[in-house]
């Protein structure tokens, strides 16, 4: 084989220089979907949050540790008192004080053009926000709301100097009027005019297609950002994203596909970092005794309402094979519905894999020949989602259940879920608000006052579970709260109205001269990227 002179020169050049060093202190990142706006409140979702966290900060950090807050405590059953960090300045030089927290709460509740912000739901049970002096804020609740200490991360803190505020204290109300008439509008945030936070980076420009440019905030109160400037682009196609990385357009990309990891492994210039995330992927089973949509057997009743059938289904699935083969180890076997490594999650035994015993259990339950089941899964929502659904189909088929797998785009799937048209479906739930939030929504009996059971598509109802979750919902003491979570989760894993499969990992592909610490909440932030 002949090597052309030019190739040789290039190769020698590369050997001498190694890979070209990363340019100055610039970081170019590609997100997998587009941030919607720099207005911090109207939109949920990881991309918007990822971007805005560069600019705005909240009282509590993404890992539940204090950030702009120094500490907090429940001074009354319905009052959380937060002590703020002192000496912090906004990008425009204004001091960060309790007034800004009240202002931000008002802006969060304020309806722009009659529409409320999607993140407002986290503020639901809050009755009043009161500043005491410059560095203490009291949150008064209508009902017990211990989750607020974690949900405070949704309340990005803006500077009150961004609007004309009344003299004296700002009086909070849940309409968000607060005597303020000229809140900055979304356009002003997107034009980098109103985007005044305390974060480690300042916004230079934001483009509606999801591109943004940021520069370091040299006056940042904490550890200074490692990058002088950051460019963020949004590329939804995974192949194109990876091609952009390989072509040198980006230093780091989000969510390469599992398949592409091999290509990265074989390339010295690039590598990847995989971090367990807070998203659990599980099967939801409708345990309604009357019957479940898409489930039919040769005897009356719903086979899924029999606990032995649910145990058999769980036992039939080889989670290790799914994790090892479909994810190349970039997923973690689940043994409960919250990630077992999530703070406050209980220690529970692994779930068994035993297809022979699964068959016996099915026979014992009166279905020796199995039964028929439509399994629904979103096709475009979770990494490897369609393949996992097919693997589950294989395993359940082997113990004799006749599975008809139906994958659908998320929009169609979400509607069918909301209308309760699916008896068995695959779902993924992130756990930014502690280990019990999901089961409180998805497995608890409906309780309007405590906000429980709104997404109970399993139609599960168990008094032991409900008792524990109701106690958890009002418990502000961390230790006691953890004990209730353990009781509830243990009961749920005994009954299996939902079968946990695995915990997703978030993966970043990047130049090999970068070191990525990663985050568990699926966000991509420059603070987790360092030069080696």
């Amino acid at each position: 084989m002949t090597v052309s002179k030019y190739t040789l020169v290039t190769m020698v050049g590369l050997m001498a220089l190694g890979t070209a060093p990363i340019q100055a202190d610039s970081l170019k990142m590609a997100y997998s979907s587009a941030p919607r706006s720099m207005d911090p409140y109207p939109f949920g979702g990881a991309p918007t949050a990822s971007l805005k966290e560069h600019v705005y900060e909240s009282l509590v950090n993404h890992d539940d540790s204090p950030l702009l807050a120094e500490s907090w405590s429940w001074t009354a059953p319905l009052t959380l008192t937060v002590k703020l960090r002192e000496g912090i300045k906004f990008h425009n030089g204004a001091d960060f004080t309790a007034r800004d927290v009240v202002y931000s709460s008002c802006r969060m509740m304020h309806r722009i053009d009659g529409k409320r912000n999607l993140l407002t739901s986290s503020m639901g049970p809050i009755k009043d926000v009161v500043a005491e002096g410059d560095h203490v804020v009291h949150f008064h609740m209508k009902a017990p709301y211990p989750l607020w200490t974690q949900k405070m991360k949704f309340l990005s803190i803006l500077s009150a100097s961004g609007a004309t505020t009344p003299e004296g204290a700002i009086k909070y109300d849940d309409k968000g009027d607060c005597g303020i008439t000229n809140y900055p509008k979304r356009d002003q945030f997107d034009a980098a005019k109103a985007s005044i936070g305390t974060g480690p980076y300042k916004l230079v420009s934001f483009d509606k297609s999801g591109s943004a440019k940021l520069v370091r905030n040299d006056a940042y109160w904490g550890e200074k950002g490692a990058w002088e400037d950051i460019t963020i682009r949004s590329i939804s196609n995974a192949g194109a994203r990876l091609a952009g990385l390989l072509a040198g357009d980006f230093d780091l990309i989000e969510n390469p596909t599992t398949e592409d990891l091999d290509a990265l492994n074989n390339n010295e210039q690039f590598s990847f970092t995989s971090v367990p995330s807070w998203r659990t992927i599980f099967l939801v089973l409708d345990v309604n005794k009357e019957g479940a949509p898409g489930v039919s057997a040769d005897k009356p009743g719903n086979p899924l309402s029999d606990i032995r059938v649910r145990q058999a289904m769980s036992m039939a699935i080889n989670r290790k094979a799914i994790v090892d083969r479909l994810f190349r180890g970039n997923a973690t076997i689940a043994n409960q519905l919250a990630p077992k490594y999530r703070k406050g999650a209980p220690e529970l035994p692994e779930l068994e894999f035993d297809p022979a015993k699964a068959k016996e259990l099915l026979a014992e339950a009166g279905y020796p020949k199995g039964f028929e089941l439509s399994l629904f899964a979103p096709s475009d929502r979770y990494a490897n989602g369609s393949r996992v659904a097919q693997a589950v189909t294989q395993y359940l088929s082997r113990i004799g259940i006749k599975i008809s797998l139906k994958t659908q785009p998320w929009s169609v799937f979400a509607k069918a879920r909301k209308n309760r048209e699916m008896g068995t479906f695959m779902y993924g739930w992130g756990h930014p608000q502690g280990p019990a939030q999901m089961i409180s929504f998805a497995l608890a009996s409906r309780d309007k006052k405590l906000g429980l059971g709104s997404s109970n598509y399993s139609n599960y109802s168990n008094p032991v579970f409900d008792k524990a979750i109701k106690a958890w919902a009002v418990e502000t003491d961390e230790k006691k709260s953890d004990a209730f979570v353990k009781d509830a989760m243990t009961q749920a894993m005994k009954d299996l109205p939902a079968i946990p499969l695995y915990y997703q990992h978030t993966i970043w592909a990047h130049r090999s001269d970068l070191e990525i610490t990663g985050r568990q909440d699926e966000r991509t932030h420059a603070a987790m990227v360092k030069k080696k």
Binding site: L326, S379, A391, T393, T407, P409
Partner: protein, 296 residues
């Protein structure tokens, strides 16, 4: 029919004699049709039987051994599906879906196009404005509607493709038929008292169909790729019963990581099949064209 007339078979043979490429295409089509038809007997594995698949056999390169001891000649995909078997079964689905859709869709389109050209007036208006409507309606939304209303299934994909196929043919045929309608022989036929339907089928159809025949192979390959695209967008055939298109789309994810066999083999079969269809179609078209035939 008198004895001197050549039989139909002889006519067809006459069209192909002396054209080795077209004959090769014909053999190719026959081969693919046979493989598709007898796939259940020929394929080493039934890729639709979920109990036969094992993800532990996933992503094996060509010539690997499966857990069952069988050899997988063309390798496996992530789910442990033997690519050779999957291609055979996929061929079946792709051919079935696209042929049914194109034949029904084009037939409908040709009929409506001729009708529009003959009747003019409100009939033409309704037909042509429906064409406009269809052209403006995105296939993905249509496929999603069918999916949301009736669930996933091969038949829903066929409906979507039929609705996708008729409009362009109707427009094309109408434009040619309009020109034909002005020609003397139509007037002559009318004066001779020949009925409308007979004029349409006997005179208008043979003289207007040539542009449709030109695009027919394209329509078939178009239907195959349209089906593949729907699968790529997540609204195609059920993923447990992949067509060639879905196999290519699945393999797409592995193209950059060096697992070429998942996408390349179904892709090659698809291209080869369409190529065969096209050379044969070209020959038939050339042969059917009286001007060209005169030159031979």
């Amino acid at each position: 029919m008198s004895k001197q007339d050549p039989t139909r078979l002889e006519k067809i043979w006459k069209a192909f004699r002396g054209h080795p490429i077209a004959i090769a295409g014909l053999i190719g089509i026959t081969f693919f049709l046979l493989v598709a038809f007898f796939a259940p007997l020929l394929a080493p594995q039934n890729p639709y039987d979920q109990t036969q698949l094992d993800i532990l056999d996933g992503l094996l390169p060509p010539m690997s051994q499966l857990g069952t001891g069988q050899t997988s000649w063309l390798g496996t995909d992530a789910l442990g599906r033997d690519i050779l078997s999957a291609v055979m079964y996929g061929l079946r689905i792709s051919l079935f879906v696209s042929f049914v859709a194109v034949i029904v869709g084009s037939g409908l389109g040709v009929f409506l196009g001729l009708l529009a050209a003959m009747k003019r007036g409100w009939v033409e208006t309704v037909i042509m404005r429906s064409v406009d409507l269809k052209m403006s309606f995105p296939g993905i939304l249509l496929a999603l509607m069918l999916l949301a209303m009736f669930g996933t299934g091969v038949d829903k994909v066929i409906y979507a493709l039929i609705i996708g196929a008729w409009a362009s043919k109707a427009r094309l045929v109408r434009s040619v038929a309009l020109s034909e309608m002005k020609k003397e022989y139509i007037d002559a036929a009318r004066l001779a008292g020949i009925g409308n339907l007979r004029i349409m089928l006997r005179f208008l159809l043979p003289n207007s169909i040539s542009p449709v025949l030109v695009v027919l192979p394209m329509a078939i390959s178009g239907a195959i790729t349209a089906e593949a695209t729907l699968s790529f967008l997540g609204v195609g055939v059920p993923i447990t019963e992949p067509s060639l298109g879905l196999l290519i789309a699945n393999g797409n994810d592995y193209l950059l990581s060096g697992k070429w066999w998942i996408s390349i083999f179904p892709g090659l079969v698809l291209v080869a099949m369409v190529l065969c269809i096209n050379v044969v179609a070209d020959r038939i078209r050339d042969h059917a064209n009286p001007y060209l035939r005169g030159k031979e």
